[in-house]
Symmetry: C2
Subunit: 353 residues, 2 copies
């Protein structure tokens, strides 16, 4: 048995028992709430975990890019929701190729996106399912009102090669009530106008334990919940003990009494702050603060540590945001506690387009 402390650093560790427990907890919560789960694979980017999510009861998976969809379709995932406005002929051709071999649906928030899709998808015998993306408070993509959602839904329904699939939103963290209210208003409007809403899909790990308060939503798309991270702990969605992903790093320098330098910088932990102070939580030295990152160096203030880290010490860090960490590494190492199980390629890493 190889111990994690024999690995070269930096390396990403994923505790498979913790990941499994996180998957089960969320599926159980979804079952109790009577809501379908459609996990977002952007966090793990690994076919094995996508398959496991489906085995445990997920109705399918969510992806953010065509490249991710292609990797997952190749791996045998058969029901995909691509939560991105697909714009441009080349991208639509790739979408068409996917649509020809798996169940894939997309979102749109504009007439431009819908009209583009309607140019490429013309087969009324096998229409492409299109959700209307709704901005329920996130301030990113999405139509701005239920009325705009209805108008776009009608435009989708009017295109022979498209089928209106329902409403999709990604709520701002902590704003699940606002999102639920928005969607409820939309449902009332659609009902009034006699337009069926096959599905209403929402998401977000920060509010995952409020799935039962998602109101009219029929489906939930969490991503980060499989690994959890420091931002989710800060949001109250997890404890550090439940965090399945950690970066293993080595202390390479102790230039001063209060400073330690590790071999993990922004190329490992990313610069994502997500509103937090510092760049991660050091499991093995909880009093240490990661106060700065260069690409390959992490700077720790260890002045509050009773026992201070020494050069050569190997430490585990829960990153602020686990998803982009997955994206930085060609492989992750699956572990059980301190025992290495297997190192696997991050199949959908770097699928930016």
């Amino acid at each position: 048995m190889t111990s994690i402390f024999e690995l070269e650093t930096p390396v990403v560790l994923v505790d498979i028992d913790k990941a499994e427990a996180n998957l089960k907890n969320a599926q159980d919560a979804a079952n109790r709430a009577g809501i379908k789960l459609r996990p977002h694979i952007k966090t793990h980017k690994l076919p094995r975990f996508a398959k496991r999510q489906v085995e445990l009861g997920a109705v399918g998976i969510t992806v953010q890019k065509l490249g991710e969809a292609e990797v997952m379709a190749d791996a045998g995932l058969a029901d995909l929701l691509l939560t991105f406005n697909i714009v441009g002929e080349k991208k639509r051709a790739r979408l068409k190729a996917l649509h020809d071999r798996v169940t894939i649906r997309v979102v749109a928030d504009s007439a431009d996106t819908v009209d583009g899709l309607a140019e490429t998808f013309v087969d009324s015998a096998k229409p492409l399912g299109v959700f209307v993306e709704c901005d329920t408070g996130m301030g990113r993509c999405g139509v701005q009102s239920p009325e705009a959602a209805l108008a776009l839904a009608k435009r989708i329904a009017a295109a022979p090669g498209l089928a209106f699939a329902g409403l999709m939103t990604y709520p701002a963290a902590g704003k699940y009530h606002e999102a639920a209210d928005w969607l409820a208003d939309a449902k009332t409007l659609f009902d009034d106008k006699g337009v069926a809403l096959p599905e209403i899909t929402t998401g977000g790990t920060p509010d995952i334990w409020h799935m039962s308060e998602a109101g009219v939503a029929t489906e939930y798309r969490p991503g980060t919940y499989i690994y959890m991270d420091r931002s989710q702990v800060a949001a109250g969605a997890a404890t550090y003990d439940q965090c399945a992903l950690a970066v293993l790093a080595t202390v390479v320098s102790r230039p001063t009494e209060s400073r330690a330098i590790i071999d993990a910088g922004s190329k490992t932990l990313t610069s994502d702050l997500l509103g937090l102070q510092g760049h991660g939580y050091v499991l093995d030295f909880p009093e240490a603060k990661i106060v700065g990152l260069s690409e390959e160096h992490g700077t720790l203030d260890v002045s509050a540590c009773g026992v201070k880290p020494k050069i050569g010490d190997v430490i585990r860090i829960v990153p602020n945001h686990c998803c982009p960490v997955s994206n930085l590494f060609d492989t992750v190492t699956l572990v059980r506690g301190e025992a290495v199980v297997e190192t696997v390629p991050v199949a959908a890493r770097g699928r930016v387009d």
Copy 2:
């Protein structure tokens, strides 16, 4: 001829004429200043550019990780400086394998690092060159005083398999005078004690045009200068016209009059701020502000734009920090203006250890 506007986005464009001009300008400046150039390849991570840097007069290259050194050695680069404390037996074994086939030198800032190297490198006929890393104001790695540098230099010199190579520093941006003063003090001390200083190496693109003020330094290690980026423009080291790297992205949503969403987020542009406001400079819409990034979405405030970007528009963005952008992409597309020349793999991408 393929136009960049036919490419799928997001994609990284590198203008080879601009890169070439940047390389030549810096080599010319180094020649005028009478200082050797040893470019850091962490920015481009491409053997072709490393070779070109050497062809133009660089004495060798700088790398930050063993993985980068291995890629560059495999590609035929023969003189490497690895500016990182190499700690741990496995890493030293990899360093030894490199030392057996190319000229590679490293840095150390502690007795621990030196003693570790001295365990692995024992051949006095082919000693490993080791620089003492000096903290001249950056607050990262490095000994804290010239006296400490001298003591560590003696420890290196006392190890049969090691050779003291000189002093190395990475100065804080804009603090080149402080670094020069620190190094001058150290040189005085070393001279007084009769300890030869074979080389004094410093670096940093923000202050590259002050190379002639590097004082006692004999070598300069710039990285970003090949591509330049928004942070370098902010530092006064380049103009946007000189920036060789741009991210090409597509406008995929216009949810409100003031908001545009592009298909490039932190997985493309990184979250690096480097003290700046916003996440990049939009060459094609200079009044637009990139106010937010999710992994796959960039949020632009376009309220100040006279003509506003439309869905489907393809725009070029100079990122805040070009180096980690190189690290996110498996390939970059070399261009001349708007003409695509070639798409090449980023050979040393993701070499984190």
